[in-house]
């Protein structure tokens, strides 16, 4: 399957409508692996697709290049969802030259039998002419792997941005104006929260670099191609990477016999009564990708767990581990939960939140078995405390914004 994007650029990727588990990232709307064929006097393929789609992908390229394959293939990122098609491609078209940076070459050599591949290393800012079309390489280290790179096509004012600005959404239309904006923005936010966030501090300098380029099209390696909402997606990235939270309270909990769930409900009531945005998620029926996305712009987070086997419930431990890895810093909150005889759940959560250097607003809020009226009142007060802190942290940025 292929689609002409501009007279000289075709989308030649794969739509995987049914993928739901992308190395643990739940992809409820499916995935696309975008690859692009650029035509100058010579052709350049920008990235490949996942290995299991490679046979059809190679055949499509054979048809589109008069049987000879692309002159160049650019590997912007060595992760197997984009580089996985390289072995089949390089075997089918041995005269194709792989263009990648030195770090990418090293990582590819750790994945694939690269001996015999024609490789030319490229460096940041370097240009290669295809005759009539030019490839310019822009290193984007740690966005989101060390070797990550984008490729700019000045004649088309087009940036192949790799995973940056990507979204996990399978769709019949390839462009942003063919899919509802609320869907693409939501998925772009989820992608940012789950993939880009750990190195979010690298985003503002990159945006600065990109502002220096004329950009009419941003073609990421997943999801829709931005052409109608280029300014909006740049602005969204600016906001998400700014680390200025919204006046938003997130309550995350796991429960055994509903005691912790009742506490969560009272915390939610207390925070909601103060008029801030509140989101409550029971981790047992919510996937981690959603939790990370809701946490991205929350100023305050309360984490609750019943006490199980002298500790927190394992699903809350997973949440802590995941948020820690994403470097979800700068939040304020507290822990809560029930216990029967010994301590464990709320205390372990408190420890984990402190380890992430979150601001701890109060000692763990505990309930022996069912919360009584007094405990529930304490929960409502604690909810109000979260709301006040959230409003403070958000400062003046309390007006409704594009991603609400």
């Amino acid at each position: 399957m292929a689609l002409e994007m501009t007279p000289n650029v075709e989308w030649v990727g794969t739509i995987d409508w049914h993928e739901r588990d992308f190395h643990g990232f739940t992809t409820e709307r499916g995935v696309t692996y975008n690859a692009y064929l650029v035509r100058g006097e010579r052709t350049a393929l920008i990235d490949t697709v996942k290995a299991r789609f490679a046979p059809a992908f190679v055949e499509e390229l054979r048809n589109r290049t008069g049987g000879i394959g692309p002159h160049f293939v650019v590997c912007n990122h060595a992760e197997p969802d984009h580089a996985g098609g390289l072995p089949a491609l390089m075997e089918a078209f041995p005269s194709t030259t792989l263009l990648c940076n030195a770090k990418c070459r090293d990582i590819l050599a750790h994945h694939y039998a690269v001996d015999g591949w024609k490789v030319r290393e490229v460096t940041h800012g370097e240009e290669i002419s295809l005759g009539g079309r030019t490839l310019r390489f822009i290193d984007t280290p740690m966005l989101h792997w060390p070797e990550s790179m984008a490729t700019y096509l000045p004649e088309e004012k087009l940036l192949f941005s790799m995973d940056i600005f990507g979204q996990h959404v399978a769709s019949s239309g390839r462009f942003d104006d063919e899919v509802r904006w609320c869907v693409t923005l939501d998925e772009a936010k989820s992608y940012f929260a789950n993939i880009v966030q750990p190195y979010a501090r690298k985003v503002p300098p990159l945006l600065e670099t990109l502002r220096g380029l004329e950009m009419e099209i941003i073609a990421p390696s997943h999801g829709v191609v931005w052409r109608s909402r280029v300014a909006e997606i740049l602005e969204a990235y600016e906001e998400w990477s700014s680390r200025v939270p919204r006046a938003k309270v997130l309550v995350l909990f796991d429960t055994m016999w509903e005691s912790t769930e009742r506490m969560a409900g009272a915390i939610v009531d207390g925070a909601s009564a103060e008029g801030v945005e509140v989101v409550s998620l029971k981790v047992g029926n919510t996937h981690l990708a959603r939790i990370a996305t809701e946490a991205l712009d929350a100023a305050c987070v309360a984490m609750g767990s019943a006490t199980l086997h002298r500790g927190m419930m394992p699903r809350m431990a997973a949440v802590l581990t995941y948020l820690k890895g994403l470097a979800s810093g700068g939040k304020a909150g507290f822990s809560f939960g029930s216990f029967g005889w010994g301590r464990g759940g709320p205390e372990e959560l408190d420890e984990g939140m402190r380890a992430m250097k979150w601001e701890i607003l109060r000692e763990p809020l505990r309930s022996r078995y069912r919360p009584d009226a007094e405990t529930l009142e304490a929960c409502r007060e604690a909810g109000a405390l979260l709301a006040h802190r959230a409003r403070e942290a958000a400062g003046s940025k309390t007006e409704r914004r594009t991603d609400s």
């Binding site: 280290p141 740690m142 060390p146 190195y199």
Partner: protein, 53 residues
């Protein structure tokens, strides 16, 4: 004392500043960091740092 940069992610260690959050006082030379020091950004070891000229 030289600054060192992480080859993987580009994080820079400035000996003048140290890394007080990690218990490394200002004025600690890169060479004097513990052998098990890890880049605070990407977790690679000291052997993946290069001096900044």
């Amino acid at each position: 004392m030289k600054k060192y940069v992480c080859d993987v992610c580009g994080w820079e260690y400035d000996p003048a500043a140290g890394l007080p959050d990690e218990g490394i006082p200002p004025g600690t030379a890169f060479e004097d960091l513990p052998d098990d020091f890890l880049c605070p950004e990407c977790n690679v070891g000291k052997d993946e740092f290069s001096p900044v000229d």
